[in-house]
Amino acid sequence: MKGDILFKDATLVDARGKHGIADVLIGEGRILSLFGGEAKRTIEAKGLYLSPGFLDLHTHLREPGQEVKEDLQSGLEAAVRGGYTDVVSMPNTSPVVDRAEAVRALKEKSARIGFARLHPAAALTQGQEGQLLCEARALREAGAVLLSDDGRTNEDAGVLALGLRYAASWGLPVAVHAEDAGLRRGGVMHEGEVSWRLGLPGNPAYAETARIARDLEVVRYVWEGLGVRPQGETLLHIQHLSTKRGLELVRQAKREGLPVSTEVTPHHLTLTEAHLEGLDPLYKVAPPLRTKADVEALLEGLLEGSIDCVATDHAPHTEDEKALDLLRAPFGIPSLEVAWPLLYTKLVEERGFPLPTLVARFSSDPRRILGLPPIHLEEGAEASLVLWNPSQKRSVDPRGFASKAKYSPWAGWTLLGWPVLTLVEGRVVWEADF
């Protein structure tokens, strides 16, 4: 058997477990064999781990219209450097991605660029204005995988119910930024002892939990009247869950069999409100960084699967924008290039989180939400993979990011697990010097 690439002595880790060492032969965009073979290029992978490529359900690539913050070229390169082979881009660009032509344009341009594969999310409502529904059928046909008014909140429950129902008929899940605008007011950080002491406008946990509670009731209402199962199991996807109480609500809903899913971001798993003590807008994000108790609960939820997956909510802005004051700086933390090493180090290495579970939360679980099959490391599997180094330490240096957002709340953190090579359908789309 002749292939393109041979990973020699790679350790295989996928959602099912850690499978020991194999010589993985890649060709025709697939895994040809786990027992070696002849290849044009042999990569010595001793001590390195090979895993399914990651899928990010929640990325802001800012194109079209905000290329000063990020564009497809920089964002998709950042993705593959982070081990992501697939990213879902949010539609809150300018203009908003709410028409099939816009989706098609993104698909075509991203295909020319290479790097990670782009799966655009489109708006649920026209212009993300929360009133008139978008053409879900046409959007789906053009390649949209998800509908969301992310960047805005869905204030009108009636519109959300209609949107869920209509999207379901075309097999598209709807993702929501679950925060109640009225309770959130002008909050720039978690409301609590720290915000009261610092004198910063607070965004209470209840802005999130009240909205999740409402949205779950809307799903229940829609689900009871719908009767057809959505293709990807999920009707409603709750983005960036950040609170312990929110998790309890989702857990309960799942127990009752509601078709809902949720995600957690790397920052909500590793940072807390205490990081705002230094009054640096770098840590300004929505929903805000919460308490230690919330972080612990989210970890638990991720472990047990109540939280389906990790999604970055990679939200790049210019350095100048993030150097505005805390009231005016935009919300968002960029994390495509650190998400995996960060969580591998903090969760697996330091907390004993099972590695295959974390791999699942980065790959097969988000794929499931989109109705995509998992990639298992076996003969015939799609060769969209990441090779990473579990033992090499490196500190986070944002100046080296491919993303245009060259800053990071984790700058200077020493992490393990850095990706060294990313394959998309058998092609090497990025490799580090190693």
């Binding site: 002892e193 009261w196 002491r197 004198g199 910063l200 009054l279 640096d280 807008p281 150097a323 004051d325």
Partner: protein, 310 residues
Amino acid sequence: MSEPSPPSFPKHLLDFKDWNRAQLESLLETAQMMQEVLARPVKKVPALSGFTVATVFFEPSTRTRISFELAARRMSADVVSFVSSASSTVKGETHRDTLRTLDQMGIDAYILRTDAAGVPHQAHRWLRKPVINAGDGWRAHPTQALLDAFTLRERLGSLEGKKIAIVGDILHSRVARSNAELLPMLGACVVACGPSTLLPGHLPGVRLTTNLREALEEADAVMALRLQKERMDRGLLPSLPEYIAGYQITEARLAWAKPEAPLLHPGPMNRDVEIEGTLADSPRSLVERQVANGQAVRMAVLYHVLVGKR
């Protein structure tokens, strides 16, 4: 010139986090010395000759700026002044651009006022020069708290064990927060009182209450805060008469406090809103004394933050 040197001082005054009691006591003593300078026919000393300080006010506040600038000039510092409105900042130049531009002109220290919390901290990170916070958002206004403490000590002596009531919009008040930080460091007990929509859920070291009588009873001094009219627009208070009926400091209510308890207000005062008009002009009121003391306190702050650079 071989005297034992006093404690060294932080080269910034962002809030009181990096200050300890000994440093604060020492600073208030220096302010006392500055009072003597201000009582002279020639109200000027050469101490800061050769230093240039910039007052950078991204939020206008004429009184505070004049107080700082006079303080600096009385110490013989050169003063430059930059005033802009928040709106012009949004349009183009950011705080960082403005500060970096000024920094090219050899400024030794910055006196900063902003409508957003944290800008003095950001400036301190960007410039690595002494920064004095002249008020940042709802967060801190340390020189106001220092002049309040100075004025209180002038009247009450040591603040050890003294009960100070702060009344009004605690939630949105940098004055309340800085006093809540400073006064307990000087031994005082602080009770903060207001309607619950204007109270934080918690403030370390401070007792919170919505009951005005409870706040004023046994109080050694009462401080009323300015009520911003915009609180009504944002629905935090139903109306001004409601506030006045519930929380205005009147002659009758001040009688709940200790007999001689003085009344303070950081200014500018809404007459007949926070304080009954006649009371504001009575001997109980220390409002004018606060303004006068402001200069001496700011001279002391400039001295401690600027001198002894290394």
